[in-house]
Symmetry: C2
């Protein structure tokens, strides 16, 4: 990677001396977008791993193979960087949620899909869980400061409300079930299991993260959720 970049630089220099460059030399040592993205990625890992107070700006710069100056250039300060990480992470989640289209499924199947989607999502994005925990430690201080998060209430809720409505019409779900409570239930079961897996498996001597155990817990979430809303 570094070797390739160096070679590209040499090639570009060669081109410079040969003739005026109209040819936009693609990759060179300089690449603002990539630098920006790399810093954000490194910061996500660092903040997720150590929390806000434990994260080190130098470590982020090193992890991104860049320099503190760039980090401050793009994000202002440590708090600005943290906020950018938070917003980017939420944006990822929100995007993923758009894959869901439960409108035509049978309600019971829809609930299952919804619960498993959330569960798999948490599984695939452990950094999201860590950042959430950190942000709550700070009473959502930074999240509240974000103007992008106001319209961020999950698309899941709308899908969920629809599924519940249809299930109620079919007489298989209880009437007047609160969608937010159902969402909280699904999220709680997934979040707690994963977020607290380290202390939990220290206290109970049980391998919570074995593939089978993870699969079983996904089914457990589905079963509990359905049992709690069934007519």
């Amino acid at each position: 990677m570094a070797g390739r970049a160096r070679q590209a630089t040499e090639n570009a220099a060669q081109a410079d001396t040969d003739k005026a460059i109209k040819t936009r030399s693609k990759k060179v040592s300089r690449n603002p977008q990539r630098t920006h993205a790399t810093i954000l990625e490194a910061a996500t890992e660092e903040f997720a791993a150590h929390g806000f107070g434990g994260a080190r700006v130098d470590a982020i710069a090193a992890r991104a193979q860049t320099n503190k100056r760039m980090l401050y250039h793009y994000f202002g300060d440590k708090e600005g960087l943290y906020l950018a990480v938070l917003e980017a992470t939420y944006a990822t989640i929100r995007n993923a949620e758009k894959q869901l289209d439960l409108a035509r499924r049978h309600p019971e199947e829809g609930m299952r899909e919804l619960a498993l989607f959330t569960w798999r999502h948490f599984l695939a994005h452990p950094e999201f869980l860590s950042l959430l925990a950190t942000e709550n430690l700070h009473h959502a201080h930074y999240l509240q400061r974000s103007d992008k998060v106001s319209a961020m209430h999950s698309h899941l809720i709308d899908e969920l409300a629809d599924v519940l409505r249809r299930g109620e019409a079919l007489g298989i779900f209880r009437p007047a079930v609160d969608p937010i409570s159902v969402y909280l239930t699904i999220a709680a079961l997934g979040f707690f299991y994963l977020s607290n897996r380290h202390t939990l498996s220290t206290i109970f001597a049980r391998k919570l993260t074995a593939p089978d155990a993870l699969n079983d817990w996904g089914e457990h979430i589905v079963a509990v959720t359905l049992a709690s809303i069934r007519a």
Copy 2:
């Protein structure tokens, strides 16, 4: 200001030379146990509020109205203090659990008691939730180091297993329900709701911590738990 301080110092020096000080300044009294306890309490607040990396040793000393020296004297270093906080907090929980005696209750009532106990416990000890979140961020690194925690698996589990067994015998609970899964379910519903209340109420515009809302969620935990194990 500096001038005034200097003058005061000179006055004190004057007094010193005038006569030997017999006057025992009243209550600078020493009290090792109290100091120890106060430091632990202050440290619990600080670590719960800012996480391990964000906690400041100076802040703890100040909060305890003592001195860093004492803190290092009693607890060795920052990590030692953190571990002591963790152990003390777990000990509190474990003690509280001993209040439970569900052996003679009707299983359904027993489950209700158990779930509400856990919920109320979390409500009464927000610092426990914060410390758990922090400790999981660190992959339970410090908790694993503790020799006191090995035998710390919850007394709740035994009580719970008994209740489930009796419920199964009466034919009201499903057979072969796993007690740990049930406990995780109860804990998850309580933990997530409280631990993430700040981000949740930022995203959904809902007052999660209103007294009524808290009470309702307690009943929700009971209802979901029972629905998930009923025959």
